[in-house]
């Protein structure tokens, strides 16, 4: 009854549809070894004002990076943090999107984990036994 060849061919780009709010924001970021780095506090978007338009007139916005750190407080209380205080993980590092977001480089190589390293070097690492596994 139906002639399959007459149906319009769907040539839209294939891929998973993600809801930025549901699948990116507030998700845990981990490194390849499963070490937690931070939570996605906000997204850095490119082309919100000057992005290329597609045929329907919609602006094409791309995600530039995952932002974390002090930006959380402005997201909760409003306002805007100075740009240099953003701890950004570039979108190109994202390797896997699931229940957690996996990035390709080790946790310590990101600026976002500087407080962890600071507390480790200044406080916890200096207390006897701090660098050994519990037994």
């Amino acid at each position: 009854m139906t002639d399959a060849s007459r149906l319009p061919v769907d040539d839209s780009p294939r891929g998973t549809v993600l809801d930025a709010h549901l699948h990116l924001l507030d998700r845990q970021i981990v490194d390849p070894n499963g070490m937690p780095i931070a939570v996605v506090d906000d997204l850095e978007l490119d082309g919100v004002e000057d992005g290329p338009q597609d045929a329907s007139g919609a602006v094409r916005v791309t995600v530039r990076g995952l932002v974390t750190g002090p930006v959380l407080w402005t997201r909760i209380f409003g306002g805007r943090a100075p740009e240099h205080r953003y701890d950004e993980l570039p979108w190109s590092d994202v390797g896997e999107l699931g229940v957690v977001i996996r990035v390709d480089k080790p946790a310590d190589s990101y600026e976002a984990s500087w407080t962890e390293r600071w507390v480790r070097e200044r406080v916890i690492g200096r207390i006897p036994g701090g660098r050994h596994a519990p037994d």
């Binding site: 845990q28 939570v39 909760i76 229940v99 507390v119 480790r120 916890i124 207390i127 519990p134 037994d135």
Partner: protein
């Protein structure tokens, strides 16, 4: 055989770990004032904690997400932060109460005043958090906590008139008490049984021990058998107080009074056992609440956490626990009565319950996290009923607290 032994051990630790200072104090106070007319709250609270602890453990095992990570993902940063603030403060209050409880229990054992035991208790808790493996910590305090069975033994040694006791379990408000006081203590008992730190600890513990789907049946056995038996321990505390304190019109306002019926029934030997159980129960709960303070903050902000990592690999997590212990020490240094801190902490717990349990229920129904392990229809049905009860208790908590003058 090893598996059977593991399940047996898990059940024993679940029983021993069920009771904390909140349960000890609230049950004894309620028993001494209301007899068993509030005993109906216990099974309600026990079923509630079984449903939600089991659910949070299942979510953690299947999706690898602990409870506060889920709260952040589901409630967003604002409501999540409000929840974090409330949960953390209540947790801090509970931690303070547990440390005070250790000191009071040690006082019973040694006759040295609690002010001197408090710093010792804080250091001891910290050393265990810093150096002892999670599974050893869990098993040792859980097994020692089993000594609280002395309360159940005491009930039998007191030779109660069982039919009269059963008659007292009918939920009738005593005419000597104001209804608001009755319902205030109902909420307190409910809050003591369902304290939120238990699910933070349970779900994070599932990650600490590396649970997978195949461990779920074991955890179900632990919870389904261990928690009701732990609830029976709570009940026997209330029965002891009903038998000994209520007829004499003594109101429980110290930990020594909680232990008094046991001394009367079983003499020195049973008293020693029950004191050991009290030390283990409060020490274990102090560990759990201290860990929970680290778990909640680290999970909200996405920091590395857990005792399976070296302290240096989870530095902010360990720093939070150290600071929490120091704050607890500071609060107790003001000379506040730990028993009153406990009573406040269980009522405030009831206040924060809905914000903790709703996200667990939502995620347990989300196939992205759970795959084919999503909640069944019956689990959801029971969970919804309890969510309603939790909501009612939470809304009623503060008004009841004011009207009854904190149960005065």
């Amino acid at each position: 055989m090893k598996k059977v032994l593991g399940i047996f051990l898990g059940i024993l630790t679940a029983i021993g770990g069920f009771v904390d200072i909140g349960d000890l104090v609230t049950n004894a106070v309620v028993g001494s004032r209301f007899g068993l007319s509030l005993a109906w709250v216990l099974p309600v609270g026990v079923i509630g904690i079984i449903v939600f602890a089991q659910m949070s453990g299942r979510v953690a095992a299947v999706s690898g997400r602990a409870t506060f990570e889920i709260i952040r993902e589901r409630l967003g940063p604002r409501l999540g932060m409000a929840n974090l603030g409330a949960s953390f403060l209540i947790n801090l209050l509970t931690l303070t109460a547990e440390i005070g409880g250790i000191a009071l229990a040690m006082q019973l054992a040694s006759d040295i005043q609690p002010g001197l035991w408090i710093p010792v208790a804080v250091v001891a808790v910290w050393i265990v958090l810093w150096r002892v493996k999670f599974s050893i910590m869990e098993n040792v305090v859980g097994l020692l906590g089993l000594c609280l069975i002395a309360f159940a033994v005491a009930v039998f040694l007191l030779h109660p008139d069982w039919s009269a006791l059963a008659h007292k379990a009918i939920p009738v408000m005593p005419s000597s008490e104001h209804p608001s006081t009755y319902w205030y203590y109902a909420v307190a008992l409910f809050g003591a049984a369902m304290t939120p730190y238990e699910v933070f600890f349970f779900s994070s513990g599932a990650r600490e021990e590396g649970w997978t789907k195949s461990d779920l049946s074991e955890s179900r056995a632990n919870v389904l058998i261990g928690f009701p038996l732990g609830g029976l321990l709570s009940l026997s505390i209330a029965v002891c107080a009903t038998l000994v304190m209520l007829p004499r019109g003594i109101q429980v306002d110290s930990l020594s009074q909680v232990a008094m019926p046991v001394a009367q029934a079983g003499g020195k030997l049973l008293l020693i056992i029950v004191i050991l159980g009290m030390v283990a129960a409060t020490f274990g709960a102090a560990l759990e609440t201290a860990l929970s303070s680290g778990y909640t903050i680290a999970q909200y902000f996405g920091w590395p956490w857990g005792k399976f990592r070296r302290p240096a690999q989870a530095s902010r997590f360990h720093l939070v626990m150290i600071v929490s212990l120091l704050i607890g020490l500071g609060i107790l240094a003001t000379g506040v009565d730990p028993v009153q801190v406990t009573e406040a902490s269980v009522v405030f717990s009831a206040l924060a319950l809905p914000l903790t349990y709703l996200p667990i229920l939502l995620v347990a129904n989300d196939p992205q996290y759970m795959g084919d392990q999503v909640n069944g229809r019956y689990t959801n049905g029971i969970a919804l009923v309890f969510l309603f009860l939790i909501l009612v208790a939470s809304i009623a908590a503060i008004p009841l607290m004011i009207v009854s003058g904190m149960g005065a």
